[in-house]
Amino acid sequence: MTAFSTLAEAIAHNVHDGDRIALEGFTHLIPFAAGHEIIRQGRRDLTLVRMTPDIVYDQLIGMGCASKLIFSWAGNPGAGSLHRFRDAVERAIPSPLAIEEHSHAGMATRYATSASGLPFGILRGYAGTDLPSVTENVRFVTCPFTGESLAAVPALDLDVGIICAQQADHDGNVMLWGITGVQKETVLSARRSIVLVEEIVDKFTPRVNGVVLPSWVVGTVVECPSGSFPSYAQDYSERANDFYAFWEPISRDRERFLAWMDAHVLGTATNSEFIASLQTTDFEVARG
C-alpha cells in the first residue's frame, strides 16, 4: 500500500548513499524538488539514471552527490551545456564521474525491460557506432529464427524511481497525462518509488492519454505543488523556459553555481521555500 509523507521523509526513508536512482521526466514532470531534497540531505555516491539528465542532474553532480551517471542525452535543452556535468567528466570537478551512455532507444528499452521483469531487452540499435566500445552494457545477440544480429541491453536494476505526476487520490492511486515519457516504467522498474503530485484529489477525472498507476505499485506519494518547476505539469503549469536560459551562466561558473545552490536549495527547507526564494532573485527580475 502507498505511504503518504513529506518530501523530506520520503527521501530520508527511500534514498540511501550508494543507491541507483532515477528521477525521470521527458521535459515534462521532472521531479526537481526531489533532486533538491537529495542535495539538502547530502546523499553521496549515487548512481544517477536518466534518459535526459538536465539541470537537476547538473545540480546533483555539481553538489557532489553522484559517482556515476547512466544516460542517453545530457544537456540543457534549448539553452546549452550542462556545465557541472562537463566539469565532472572533463576535469573531475568536484569529483570523478563514471559514465555509462546509451542511445534513447537503448535506455527506453532498458526501462521497458525492467518494467517487464526481464533481464535484457533487444533492439535494432547501436550497430556501427562506437557506443558498444565504451560500455559492457551493450552486447549483440543472434535471432534464433532469422540469424540477424540485434543489440541487447540489460535491465536497469533501480533501487529508487522518482517521478512527478499531476494527481493522486486518497488511496494512493496516481494519475498523469500529457507527455508520459517513461514515468510508468520508472515506477515499475524500481524496488522503491516516490511520486510527487501537484494535488491529492477525491476522484480522478478521466483525461486524454491518462496513465493510472494503481496504489499497490506506488511506494510513497508526496503532495508537492510545483515540484517539477522549472519543468511543468500539463494543466497545472507551463514550462519555465526562461529558467533554463537563466541557468546557463550560473551553471557555467562553479563559484556562482555554489552560491546559488547555497542560497536557494541548501538555504531553504522545502520546495515552497525554494519557489518563494526565487521571487527575490535575478530570475524573477529577468521575468519582469
Binding site: L123, G178, E185, N209, N241
Partner: protein, 255 residues
C-alpha cells in the same frame, strides 16, 4: 551568421539553411524531428509547401502541429496539438524502429564525408576536450529512417576528415557497411549547411557539393570543409528564400 540582401529582402545564413532544409520535405512526408533547426525546418515545411507533413517528436508526440517553435522536444504545445501521444518506449519501438519514418533530421558536432556523426565527445573519450550531450535518439534515427538529412553550420571543425567518435552511423566507410550491419534505412542523403548542400553520391561513395547558397563560392565551401571536398559536375545556386518562406519562418521564431 552572415546576412544576405536582395531587392530589400534580407536573410541570415541560418535562415537560408532552415529554408533549404524545409524544402527537402515533400507533402505527406513522415518526419522524425529533433529540437532546434530540424524542428524549425519541419514546421516551416508544414506551414508552407507541405501542409500534410507529419511531425514526430521523440517525446511521444505523433502528428504535432505547434503554432510556435517549442524550445524543447517535450513542450505542452506538442502534446496538445498531436494526433496521438504515446510513451517513449513505444515511440522508439513501434514507430521509429519499425521503419515507419521517412525522414530523420539530425544535427552534428562533427560529420565526415560519409555522413557519420559525432555528438558525443571532442578529443579522447576517456579524457575529453569537450564533452558533448551524447547520442539521444540519433543512432537509431540514423539507422531506421528511410533517409536522413543532416544540418549544421559549415566549418572545418564540424566537417572533418575523421570524427572523434561515431555516435550515429552514416555510410560507414562508404563500402556497404550499412548493408553488412543490416541497417534498414538508406542513411544520410543530404548535408545542409549555411554555405550550401552536399548530397550523397553513390558513384563517389561520399558526400559531394551539389549546391551553394546565394553569394557563396565553391572555393569558400572547400576552404570550410575539413576533407578534400568532391564537387559535383554542375553545382547550382540554391534558390533564395521567398518572402513567404521568410515570413512563415519568422512568425515561428519570433524574429
Amino acid at each position: 551568421m552572415a546576412n544576405t540582401t536582395i531587392d530589400d529582402v534580407t536573410w541570415t545564413s541560418d535562415e537560408m539553411m532552415a529554408v533549404a532544409a524545409a524544402r527537402e520535405l515533400s507533402d505527406g512526408t513522415v518526419c522524425f524531428v529533433g529540437i532546434g533547426l530540424p524542428s524549425t525546418a519541419a514546421n516551416l515545411a508544414r506551414t508552407t509547401h507541405a501542409p500534410h507533413v507529419v511531425l514526430i517528436y521523440e517525446s511521444g508526440c505523433i502528428g504535432a502541429k505547434p503554432d510556435r517553435i517549442p524550445p524543447s522536444i517535450g513542450d505542452g504545445v506538442l502534446s496538445v496539438t498531436a494526433d496521438a501521444v504515446v510513451g517513449v518506449p513505444e515511440i522508439f519501438a513501434y514507430w521509429l524502429q519499425a521503419g515507419r519514418i521517412d525522414v530523420g533530421f539530425l544535427g552534428a558536432a562533427q560529420v565526415d564525408r560519409w555522413g557519420n556523426i559525432n555528438t558525443t565527445v571532442v578529443g579522447d573519450y576517456g579524457a575529453p576536450k569537450v564533452r558533448l550531450p551524447g547520442a539521444g535518439g540519433a543512432p537509431e534515427i540514423a539507422a531506421s529512417c528511410s533517409r536522413v538529412i543532416i544540418t549544421l553550420r559549415h566549418n572545418e571543425r564540424a566537417l572533418v576528415e575523421k570524427i572523434d567518435f561515431v555516435t550515429s552511423l552514416g555510410h560507414g566507410d562508404g563500402n556497404g557497411e550499412r548493408e553488412r550491419l543490416g541497417l534498414r534505412g538508406h542513411g544520410p542523403q543530404a548535408i545542409i549547411t549555411d554555405l550550401g548542400v552536399l548530397r550523397y553520391d553513390d558513384t563517389h561513395r561520399q558526400f559531394v557539393l551539389s549546391e551553394v547558397h546565394h553569394g557563396v563560392s565553391v572555393d569558400e565551401v572547400r576552404a570550410a570543409t575539413g576533407w578534400n571536398l568532391v564537387v559535383a559536375d554542375s553545382v547550382h545556386e540554391t534558390a533564395v528564400p521567398t518572402s513567404e518562406e521568410l515570413r512563415a519562418l519568422r512568425s515561428f521564431t519570433g524574429t
